[in-house]
């Protein structure tokens, strides 16, 4: 979208744009009420079930308030606004104590945009309302035990049999798979040798015989991720997303959305939460140069925030956005990890268990959603044009 087109439909094209300033004021007013009851103070000892319940309650409050899908087009029930407004809302919301993440994240950030780009009208009519209203939860079925960073080598089979696909195989690292009703599932539908033209994307029902979900206990003690086993599970062919055997293109299209600005405000918000944990406890960071350490962390967070804002503004003004995602992903996830280590190494007795949990938990930041190594390869090969090794 060009700047002129964005302006014509009322989207802000920069953070100083009066539309952006008004939107920030409007959302702050709504959020001040909406976030009451979502205090951060009691999050130190939450169970997985507590976390999910809190996120679900927040998702539904967003939907009721009309903030569920700020940048979705209005014909799909969104507000028809842009990345600037999306970023502003996330920043304001998490600043006021809203959860860092959404229970409906996979639906909101992956499936919905995927349906808009690749879905049939019937698929959109069937699935979009449930995603928007968070009545149906989604998980993502891409990675496999032998197909992590090398996603295209996945082996879970989806064999077309008349009006259905018959699915056999195993997926892993699926967030929310324990609660999800549906899975955005990438399967092998064609011969092995047709790399990049032998995969299909399915909108796969999980509530059926032939699907078994096992939770994975992580080093943090939580079980956000799980494995999904398919044995002769059935997906109606009408739930094929995009063209058969062209699922790689669908996956890349969807991941480019995931790799948009979506997660960065959440990650920055987590960083600010870490900082607040240190600032608010006089016994953490004792016996070290507290003022200097906190000052440096504040500065690092602000630099990363401005990096994100420059990227979002570039995206909104149709400038050079594509350069930004990998940089943000690496920089902010490494910032989170550094913060968690400072917390762990300087925690008071009371907060040590919480910091240990955060320290373990945040190891995933440089692995999930594209490892830092893959992202460095992306920068080197796609941005800098270095030859493939």
């Amino acid at each position: 979208m060009t700047v002129d087109e964005a302006q014509a439909v009322g989207k802000a094209t920069s953070f100083g744009d009066p539309r952006a300033v008004r939107f920030r004021e409007e959302s702050r007013r709504w959020l001040t009420d909406a976030t009451s009851g979502f205090s951060r103070a009691d999050r130190m000892h939450e169970t997985d079930a507590d976390i999910l319940a809190r996120r679900l309650a927040w998702d539904r409050r967003l939907f009721d308030g009309g903030y569920g899908a700020i940048s979705w087009p209005t014909e799909f029930g969104g507000r028809g606004l842009g990345p600037i407004e999306e970023y502003i809302f996330a920043e304001e919301a998490t600043g006021l104590g809203a959860p860092d993440d959404l229970a409906g994240r996979v639906g909101r950030l992956l499936v919905g945009p995927g349906l808009m780009e690749f879905g049939t009208e019937a698929q959109q009519a069937r699935f979009m309302p449930g995603i928007l209203g968070v009545r149906e939860l989604w998980c993502q079925g891409f990675s496999e035990p032998d197909a992590g960073s090398d996603l295209a080598s996945l082996r879970t089979a989806g064999v077309r049999d008349g009006d259905t696909f018959v699915v056999n195989g195993q997926k892993i690292w699926s967030s929310f798979c324990g609660e999800a009703d549906w899975c955005l599932l990438l399967v092998r539908s064609g011969p092995q040798e047709n790399r990049y033209h032998n995969l299909s994307m399915l909108l796969m029902p999980l509530r059926q015989e032939g699907v078994e979900v096992r939770r994975i206990r992580q080093i943090s003690g939580s079980s956000e991720f799980g494995e999904i086993f398919f044995s002769n599970a059935i997906c109606p062919a009408e739930y094929l997303l995009g063209r058969q055997d062209e699922g790689w293109a669908v996956a890349m299209g969807i991941l480019s959305v995931e790799r948009g600005a979506g997660f960065t405000p959440m990650r920055l918000s987590m960083s600010r939460r870490y900082l607040a944990m240190l600032e608010n406890c006089p016994d953490c960071l004792a016996g070290v140069n507290r003022v200097e350490i906190l000052g440096e962390l504040r500065a690092r967070i602000e630099v990363n925030r401005l990096q994100a804002m420059r990227a979002v503004e570039a995206m909104a003004a149709d400038r050079d956005w594509v350069r930004s995602h990998s940089v943000l992903k690496i920089a902010v996830s490494e910032l989170q990890q550094d913060l968690s280590r400072i917390g762990l190494e300087n925690a008071c007795d009371e907060h040590l268990p919480a910091w240990r949990r955060e320290y373990f938990s945040i190891r995933s930041a440089t692995i999930a959603g594209g490892t830092s190594e893959i992202n460095r390869n992306v920068i080197a090969e796609r941005l800098l044009g270095l030859p493939r090794g």
Partner: protein, 318 residues
Amino acid sequence: MCALAVSPPADVLPSRDAEEAIAVLDRLLVARAGDPRTQMRGDEFFSRDYGDLWSALCRDGWPAVAVSALPDPGADSGEGLGIVDLLALAEMWGRHLVPLPLLETILVRRWSGSGPANGDALTFAVGHRTGPLAPYGNRPGVWCVDRLPAAPGRIEGGGWGQSALGAPSYPLAIAPRATVLDCGVRREIVALAVAQAAGGAGLCFERSVAYAKTRAQFGRLIGSQQAIKHHLANMHMAVELARSSALAVALAEEDEIWPRAKIGFDYCADVWETAIQVHGGIGFTWEAGLHFYSWQLQGLRAVAQAAAFCGEAAGASR
């Protein structure tokens, strides 16, 4: 007391008009001084006479490009370039290593309105532990102002000694006293210094990428080795974050100026050190000229650190 820092919401990218104007200046510098991507800077480069180039810059109105209506010059009244535009200008300028006080002159004009005449080369002095540092302050025809913001007088005298902290592209004189600077001016001095350093780092980075695409070892380009790729990816990130650091300084409260600037300079130093590593033995030679960028970075860092901490009182007393 410090003028209230500008906090977002404000635009974080330069305007398209500013970008175009900066591109025009970039082309002028390439035409007059050579393209820094392909032409190494050497001793001869720094001893040239740049009088004609300065005249051309003045003729094109660059010294007054960010003048805005007093009494609130930092507020970017809409005339001329705003601070975000100036950061982009400083980045571009930092790539060229041209030893002229253009950014200093622009800053002084920005904070002193119509006082100095067009054509004057202007600078300021910041109180440093080794003595007040005045960029280009020992150059003939450059006058060092005594206070900002205000219609300034000048710090008189000549024959100032050179500070060892200076660089061939960025000489630093030791002035008899420091310019009295309010916080808003000091914040912009620091922000532009970080941006200028980020520009220099960006140039070192681009040269490293180009080198990795042409230098072969073991029968293949070194840029195809993942170890080198990751060095270059880290450099790209560091350059981007250094640019954001400059912006963060421009939006900082007084006590946040130096912590944010330090991050930016640290990123630039990382980039420069990795540039030497990627270039291997070639990078270690005087002829390659990469060291001039570190030299400039060291000078900018010294001036920025001094500016971040020299309050009005300190400036007056030194």
